[in-house]
């Protein structure tokens, strides 16, 4: 990757332009001065070549799944198939206005219905709403459904939602946005939700519990049946955070575990590209008990991110019932393979079989010595960039101070995993020999470590 230091504004020269418009009957707009813009519009004046080169140069400072291995835990960075992109750009769909009469969008509606049916089959839920545009957006929509369920019963005292201490940060945040109070349930030393800690929390004020299974440590919550029974017994509902659905493909249906509401991330489990942070799609599915309320929360403007749904359906059709059932097991195979291959040099706090991801807690020998602090998880992450890999998720979950959360996915070959393992070993050796070299990593990237403190203290947020 090559450093390129321009902003589009810096290429601007008065008199250049890159637009192409019809001559038409455009004339100056007659508007009262009170409504007219006063300040000049300071947008770049550049040629089309300038624009194309500029953004091409920017793209070359970016690392994507197509660049290399991206073992970012909880993000399921699997390969994004190219046919899906072609389908999403299909001109018979991209020109449809969201408010067109139903008889003119039957094909689009069939896409949504077919995807609904497929996701229902995969998860064991009844139906989905596709309005949520992301996982956190799905959580919010799902919690609204939880509240509708209780409100319909006149059960207005249920204002609290239980969230495990290992939960994704969005869980408590979504609950707060939905007007719910958060109660934290602890994990046991083996990483699973502590059922004994849960019991006294349950009561008439509990709206439900949010869980991801497998949890953020990549562990299957074995006691989910008992948890479901306890929560249902107290009148609450179970919410399934589908961020970790990938390992269950072909093996377990969340609907069979007693969950009432779930969201899926089409941009994780169903291979749609993350686009540098979006657009995603977080459809929310419900069990029969919650079905009557499914259409009540309107959480986005039209029909949700239809273009992302097109990709998700193309993926499911490509895999078909034969291949989709291999996706989960192969993802789990890769995670356990890495986990077992490095546990002599990286601390493995929870040694049991993992699902799609697992967590190391820093190095066995971090190289710390008199006057020289040892190599940290941040150092390991940065050094990985030098070797051409994306870093795992770091410092999450919060249960371990040096957490390194690794998720390889089913689309990576044994050779890729072996290369990653080898580099991780080399980094462990480097740490033991010369931790200072790791403190200053990365060394081979377009920029080196940024000064984040100054960025936050004196924010420069626009040009």
């Amino acid at each position: 990757m090559k450093y390129y230091d321009k902003l589009i504004f810096e290429l601007s020269r008065p008199g250049r332009s890159a637009y192409s418009l019809p001559k038409g009957c455009g004339k100056e707009i007659e508007l009262p001065a009170a409504l007219r813009r006063q300040a000049p519009l300071d947008l770049p004046e550049v040629s089309e070549v300038d624009v194309v080169r500029h953004y091409t140069n920017l793209s070359q400072m970016n690392f994507g799944v197509d660049t290399g291995f991206y073992p970012l835990g909880s993000c399921t960075m699997k390969y994004n198939p190219k046919i899906n992109e072609e389908i999403a750009a299909h001109p018979l769909f991209t020109g449809l206005h969201p408010l067109q009469p139903a008889e003119t969008v039957e094909g689009a509606q069939e896409v949504i219905d077919t995807l609904d049916k497929a996701l229902a089959a995969i998860t064991g839920f009844e139906h989905f709403t596709f309005l949520p545009c992301a996982g956190a957006h799905g959580e919010l929509t799902g919690l609204m459904l939880m509240r509708e369920y209780h409100m319909a019963r006149g059960d207005s005292a249920r204002t609290k939602v239980i969230v495990p201490d290992s939960a994704h940060g969005t869980n408590p945040a979504s609950a707060a946005v939905c007007g719910l109070e958060i109660v934290v349930v602890k994990s046991r030393p083996d990483g699973l939700v502590d059922v004994e800690d849960l019991k006294p929390l349950l009561g008439p004020d509990i709206a439900g519990i949010m869980m991801t299974n497998p949890n953020t440590l990549g562990l299957f919550e074995r006691e989910i049946r008992q948890i479901a029974a306890l929560v249902h017994e107290c009148g609450g509902l179970l919410y399934y955070d589908g961020a970790n659905m990938n390992p269950l493909l072909g093996k377990v249906r969340p609907g069979d575990m007693g969950f009432d509401i779930l969201h899926l991330n089409l941009h994780k489990t169903f291979s749609t590209p993350h686009g540098g942070g979006g657009p995603g799609s977080g459809p929310v599915g419900v069990a029969k008990s919650v079905l009557p309320y499914l259409r009540i929360p309107v959480t986005s403007g039209f029909h949700g991110n239809f273009g992302v749904m097109m990709r998700g359906l193309a993926y499911i059709l490509t895999l078909g019932k034969e291949n989709i059932k291999m996706a989960g097991p192969l993802a789990v195979l890769g995670a356990n393979y890495i986990k077992e291959s490095l546990k002599d040099v990286y601390k493995l706090p929870i040694p049991t079989v993992c699902k799609h991801e697992f967590v190391y807690d820093g190095l066995v020998n971090d190289g710390a010595r008199e006057g020289v602090p040892g190599a940290t998880t941040l150092d390991i992450a940065k050094r990985l960039l030098d070797y051409g890999f994306h870093a795992p998720t770091i410092y999450f979950p919060l249960l371990f101070h040096q957490a390194l959360m690794v998720e390889p996915t089913e689309t990576e070959s044994k050779e890729t995993l072996d290369a990653f393992i080898e580099v991780m070993r080399r980094i462990a050796e480097e740490a033991a020999a010369d931790p200072e070299m790791l403190h200053s990593a990365p060394h081979n990237t377009p920029i080196r470590r940024p000064d984040e403190t100054t960025a936050a203290r004196n924010p420069i947020v626009k040009a």
Binding site: Y79, P98, V105, M326, G334, E340
Partner: protein, 432 residues
């Protein structure tokens, strides 16, 4: 195994990997899952399709859609999409990357988000923009939450009944589950009081009318509340910016900046504000800094507001944005420049006014825009059989004259529609 394109594992690989793990089979990797949860059935899904079959499947469904010339807006505008945009946004370095956590290998994403923030600030006149939101309606809901969070005691937000229906529905949903009070009214100023945290008004109402917001900011601020303006960013090339109206927050949807209609999504919301509100702004924000060698670079900043740090105390639960769609708009604005943006408005507005006058001249509509205060979108009161009219539009290949709740018919013209198309639409009306 080894026969499916996305799974690279050979039988040999699987065997070697299982051996390293110390288990006998893939099933053993699920030994921690109670047996009765293990799904033994086969998903009710079709068999795997070849690439050709997938293509055919969607082609067939696509043919069930009716391709129409779109002359309706209401939150989704059929502006022209320059060829450069999809070319750039489909570059896989942009497309297949995650949120730019590792800034050293994400400078591409971080730089274009910084450019997006800068362009949104330049359009709206605001000091700071976030990295984007899901869509305009959700951004509007977040603006209300922001205004509520900025005031300790005030628990009411007042929004204009003139906002687009798609915005109103989402706002109502978001507010329903909080203890804040939402007031929807035609006269927002009449509702001001010491319990009002903020006011949200559209610059262009759902009927296409440009609102004169002169004096609003003074009155709202005098009452101790904040002012947010919902706007169409494309029209800000010619209309007063939210900052020029004196607003504290600008919010809207970037779809009109070169994003295809896409049956409603993905689009992209924007949310920008004055410096004083910066720490209440939800979502990602990119900031400029320097690296260890003093080189200019960009990072996600002000993260102390966010859910992964603050959990339930965060400004919002949003943890992503619509990054690629923000790139879509950023490339669009770079291509259009100030002159192109002005011309898009002139062409759209000229077309809309031409169509408006021609439709009035048919005698089948009542003019409700006598002062002509609209740009590309307007409504007419029908004096004819609406159902028959809409059927005739569809038969003529047009989606036009969407009927709103108040019975009026909505039209929208962009630079994509030439005079011949508009004339043929008018002919349909004349032929009724």
């Amino acid at each position: 195994m080894g026969t499916f394109a996305y799974f690279p594992h050979t039988e040999e690989d699987i065997r070697a990997m299982l051996d390293r793990i110390g288990v006998a089979s893939l099933d053993d990797l699920y030994s921690d899952v109670p047996d009765d949860f293990q799904y033994k059935g086969e998903y009710d899904l079709p068999s795997a399709m070849s690439e050709q079959e997938v293509r055919d499947f969607f082609e067939q469904l696509g043919r069930k859609n009716v391709q129409l010339k779109v002359l309706v807006g209401q939150g989704a505008y059929d502006h022209y999409v320059p060829a450069v945009i999809p070319y750039i946004t489909s570059r896989s370095e942009f497309l297949t990357s995650y949120t730019p956590y590792q800034s050293e290998i994400s400078q591409g994403t971080l730089r274009y988000i910084f450019e997006w923030q800068s362009m949104i600030c330049r359009l709206t006149g605001m000091d700071v923009s976030n990295a984007s939101m899901y869509d305009g309606p959700t951004a509007a809901a977040e603006a209300l939450r922001m205004m509520l969070a900025s005031s300790r005691k005030r628990n009411k937000v007042v929004v204009s009944a003139g906002l687009l229906p798609c915005v109103q529905k989402v706002i109502a949903t978001y507010m329903k589950y909080t203890d804040a009070q939402l007031v929807v009214t035609k006269d927002v100023l009449a509702e001001l009081g010491d319990d009002v945290a903020g006011v949200l008004v559209p610059e262009i109402g759902k009927l296409g009318r440009i609102n004169d917001l002169t004096g609003y900011a003074e009155k709202i601020h005098e009452a101790g509340a904040l002012m947010a303006v919902y706007c169409d960013p494309s029209t800000l090339a010619v209309l007063k910016s939210p900052a020029e109206w004196g607003a504290d927050i600008a919010v809207g949807d970037g779809q009109s900046l070169g994003i295809p209609l896409n049956y409603g999504g993905p689009y992209v919301g924007f949310l920008a504000c004055r410096t004083e509100l910066m720490r209440k702004l939800p979502g990602r924000i990119v900031g400029q800094t320097t690296d260890a060698d003093g080189k200019r670079c960009f990072v996600l900043t002000l993260q102390a507001r966010e859910q992964h740090i603050r959990r339930e105390k965060a400004t919002s639960n949003i943890c992503s944005n619509e990054s690629l769609m923000a790139l879509w708009c950023t490339v669009y604005l770079s291509l259009m420049g100030p002159e192109g943006m002005r011309k898009v408005n002139e062409l759209s507005s000229a077309g809309a006014h031409y169509l408006h006058d021609a439709l009035i001249a048919t005698g089948k509509f009542k003019d409700i825009h006598e002062d002509k205060l609209f740009l590309n979108e307007f409504t007419l009161k029908p004096l004819c059989d609406v159902e028959k009219l809409q059927k005739a539009f569809l038969a003529g290949g047009f989606f036009a004259g969407l009927q709103l709740e108040n019975g009026e018919l909505a039209f929208c013209v962009t630079e994509k529609h030439n005079k011949e198309e508009l004339d043929s639409l008018v002919k349909i009306v004349e032929g009724l």
